[in-house]
Symmetry: D2
Subunit: 349 residues, 4 copies
């Protein structure tokens, strides 16, 4: 019971959904709909999203979670001898129980910088394959996986995305963007990447709902025609086709109809910036220079303990020499008052 | 827009959730919870369900859909050379896009009778393996899959379940029961199988939520200790671990706390019986003698067309000679007035 | 030791290789060659085989065994949601430990007639998919698997092959022919199908070496360009690329250079016909009307026991009413004297 | 044709088999044997190998190649959520086309030292899992893969093997040793590890035949009872059960009956030492300090070109600054005169 009184900054999926979505569930609860995503709300949800995609020709599908979306897309995209290129901190590498390998595909891990995968490391890996005299003894890199924002909350600049796109084009690679926190990335402090940019650079990407205001659900946008083919078959085969699919379409319709998705995530970033500034003001090192809703601070044990009395946050790693990396995460549901309280407490650490 | 005015008997997943669940979503929407099913509602949901399991020692996990639950359980249960025994009409065989085979396992198909798998056909298949002189050239049957109720709405009697259990024990097979419509099966007209019986006979089974009053979700009950090990790892690997897991626990808590699950599904069966009797009274053959919420009628084209003017129902198959099999399905959300209307229209066919 | 004195008609892989191949091994044993099938003998072996293919544009790869060849080809040919159509008696269904399912693909089983798959059953299955309103809930049939000769030793006529080809073209299916015993099939008594025909009808097929005079090895012929792509990668990934690949190329070169493959298998059929006639003359029913090297006879227990004193043959199944199906198999290594002995013993059963 | 006159030091699988094996093929070629490894030569081959295993209780199976053996063992050993720990230079990681991942399992890559995996890195990885609070989000390391000798020709000392064994015992990991070149490792210059040691430390290992005097084939020794169960089913399912299995048993019988395996590989090491000394004498750096049949030299382009006029060797990598790493490999078939010639040519580089 005590925990209820604690203030949660542990993650961005600790509350239900924004009120507009709850309201939409209420209003539609006695209506009948067709099953498996073949309904009017899915149709409307797609239409609203497409307004932000710059006119690309895309298929949009609604799935229930991020791991599911990642491995289903990858399973659909690759032939058995093909592999994925990702950063060492990629969610598919370290947080999804080997789901990608479980579908039969190798991940070629690259060293990341500030949580990001560089175009040059992708090019090097692709070039290694291209020049290899024993191609049949190694896997063919075919899909580049990045997250926007990254696992450290950092974001790729337009020019970094352009570089990745160029390398992908040069080597015939798919660029797939995991947007579990896409809203926070697009609302990054000082950022200038738009959803239209994401749509232009990626072959496929998903717009995270679970962490950005929905009860659950991710909207997968498929642009490359090769990736569109039979995708609903892959969804069903991988348990990713919700019987009451309209619940997903309805949520994304609600989030995108009036730009709610962007305002609630931008607000979370604004709150996160206050926390970031508080750490900086107190002379506390930030593990990464994140302009988004996740802030990674380097704390001593005693400071960590002090904050733990009132706040729930995520322990990341022991950095040695008495220092620890922890994550404070704001979200669409973060209360400004809670942030003010945290900021104050940081200032007196 | 016209379709909105039509009355849907096409399936049991065409409406949101029972009001009690919507209300629970509303009441908890501003609360914070731990992620991935490690929260108080999942704990409470399990406790409520366990009251109906006759004291067996079980692990209960909440997943988002039936296909996902089936293949995740099977992937966890079997080694690569082991296979599943199921009826020819089994959902995993004909409606899940080869999800089981996609995890690497063969399904050994048996001819069904009234939608059911007989203990004798299981025994014969198991015995064939046991006596085989070339065991390493064939798969080892290891898991028996049945649905309760079956795809034709029929239910296994206690003695049929006992027979299956005995054969499974004799040959070292797991008995797994797909309970997508478990509520309707337990509420079968004239039936006497209880959830306690299901728990006693099965090594694992799932309690369907999606088709029985929830927005979405299935509760998988694992009894056999071999099946319990590391199951959460399999869930995560297969995209079956919802980030906001409490939404599932909360729904099952609501359904089981006061027996709501049983009353709403029993009511659907009562409505279905009215439809069944109406067909019989009109001299219309029923494709199967179903005591549950699905009724399969044999109609001429003209009768089918007539009913199609007002009702949405599912076309099943062309039986030849001008006859067609169609399904009328009631559910937890079926309106008694709609049933009365249908009954009346059937009487004048 | 006793078994050594017994005469083996149990299968067609119970002896090493024809003397010409042993000799080729001896002559080349001190030579150096490139690895993994990139050597002069593989090149020459391909050239010799191509002389019999009617000028089609093909890639030929050498693998070590039939199960391996079947599942590697299927894994390379299909996307995860696609499936195989085969007869109920197909080797991939009942004798390869679920290898095809282990690669993730469902087999859609069809009732066979005389061991053969009919074009009409293929068409029906393909048409079911085509007309299905729920395509994403079922697998897409994409590859038709047949054996030539079949598991019962029967062969498809040219017109049956043409029918299969036409249906495959109509529905966009691959036709793949398992030719583990291709030599015996092409040498069928009264048959008129040539290897050129096989090459014309199939998208891919393999020429069995293991059962047709080689120590081991199968030559997989890929005609359809879609199946050729990156096939060596699939081979390596599936452990199907022999380090000393020239040993395979050399064997096929030896078998095809002067038509040895055809003469030794034709001779086996001639021997089998003597056995067939002997059974017929004695009034013993043949389980299938096989014009190839496998003869399936229906014997009483006492006759079976009598022949077991001197011969090793394969027990197939209990037919009930005191009758049993057994297989007598000749091969490239069958001794005419042994056949004469068997024929005589059959005549006095 | 020119290449025939070149002297091959490119690898250890460029010639057929040692004369004793060719002779054994000749002597047995007219005999009949049971199929699929159920024959007297497989039995005898096992018996001869077991004489070197120190009395451990083991099952021995004969497979056709290294990649096949590795992935079949791993597929049999692991459950879907379990992973492999290996060095970054491991054959399964960089030379087998993702075969392990193709069976669904992740490889957790560790930085190697001199081609070897350290017990401490294994312990660290296993400890990370053990301490993890999110076990279900990551794979469980379960099998440690090492090669003996390593890809750089180096060998683990007894104490290194003991350390690995101890860590495996502590964390419940399988230790699996890829012995593609086991003979050369056991015959390492200055080495003291015996096959008995390998059998004592490993849960499973394979004795390479392909690179150590056989035409083809590897003998997989299974010690841990968990790994023995149903292994023949895994072999068949993975195309790893040769129809004429006696060809494999016969080769291993021939290699182990009088210790031929050890003498021919030891001789190859003696030849390799001459080459190693020649490089050292000429002041040429060796990329690794290998006491076995593979020698990795660091050459300038001009020296590489000079040696290329007469010898075939394997190019490994561009080391930058005008230097290149190349491999000279001796084998059971290496001619002492060829080595003398190479030694002389190195001395005048």
């Amino acid at each position: 019971m005590l925990q209820r009184l604690m203030i949660r900054f542990n993650n961005d999926y600790n509350k239900g959904a924004c009120p507009e979505i709850l309201d939409a569930f209420s209003r539609t609860n006695t209506e009948n709909y067709g099953g498996y995503g073949l309904d009017e709300w899915c149709e409307k949800g797609c239409q609203e999203i497409k307004k932000y995609l710059g006119g690309i020709d895309s298929d949009i599908h609604f799935l229930t979670g991020g791991t599911q979306t990642n491995y289903t897309l990858i399973a659909a995209a690759l032939r058995p001898f093909q592999s994925v290129i990702s950063a060492d901190c990629a969610h598919i590498h370290g947080h999804e129980t080997g789901a990608v390998e479980n579908t039969g595909h190798k991940i070629l891990i690259q060293k990341s910088t500030s949580g990001k995968l560089s175009a040059s490391s992708v090019a090097k890996e692709a070039q290694t394959y291209k020049l290899s005299g024993i191609k049949e003894h190694i896997t063919q890199p075919k899909l580049v996986f990045i997250s926007f924002p990254s696992e450290l909350g950092t974001v790729y600049s337009k020019s970094e995305l352009e570089d990745l796109r160029r390398v992908c084009d040069e080597y015939g690679l798919y660029l797939y963007i995991d947007g579990a926190r896409l809203g926070y990335g697009l609302g990054a402090e000082g950022g200038n990447v738009t959803m239209e940019d994401i749509a232009r650079y990626a072959d496929a990407f998903y717009i995270g709902g679970t962490k950005c205001g929905a009860f659950f659900g991710e909207a997968l946008v498929l642009k490359n025609p090769e990736l569109k083919m039979n995708f609903r078959s892959y969804m069903k085969q991988n348990g990713a086709m919700l019987a009451k699919g309209w619940l997903l379409g309805l949520q994304f319709y609600t989030l995108f109809k009036d730009g709610l998705y962007f305002s609630i995530t931008r607000n979370a970033v604004i709150q996160a910036m206050k926390i970031k500034e508080a750490f900086k003001a107190r002379g506390i090192t930030l593990y990464a220079e994140s302009p988004t809703n996740q802030q990674f601070a380097v704390l001593t044990k005693s400071r960590m303990d002090k904050l733990s009395e009132k706040y729930i946050f995520e322990y990341e790693s022991d950095l040695g020499e008495g220092l620890h990396c922890v994550r404070f995460c704001t979200s669409w549901s973060t209360d400004a008052g809670d942030v003010d309280s945290l900021v104050k407490d940081i200032s007196t650490l």
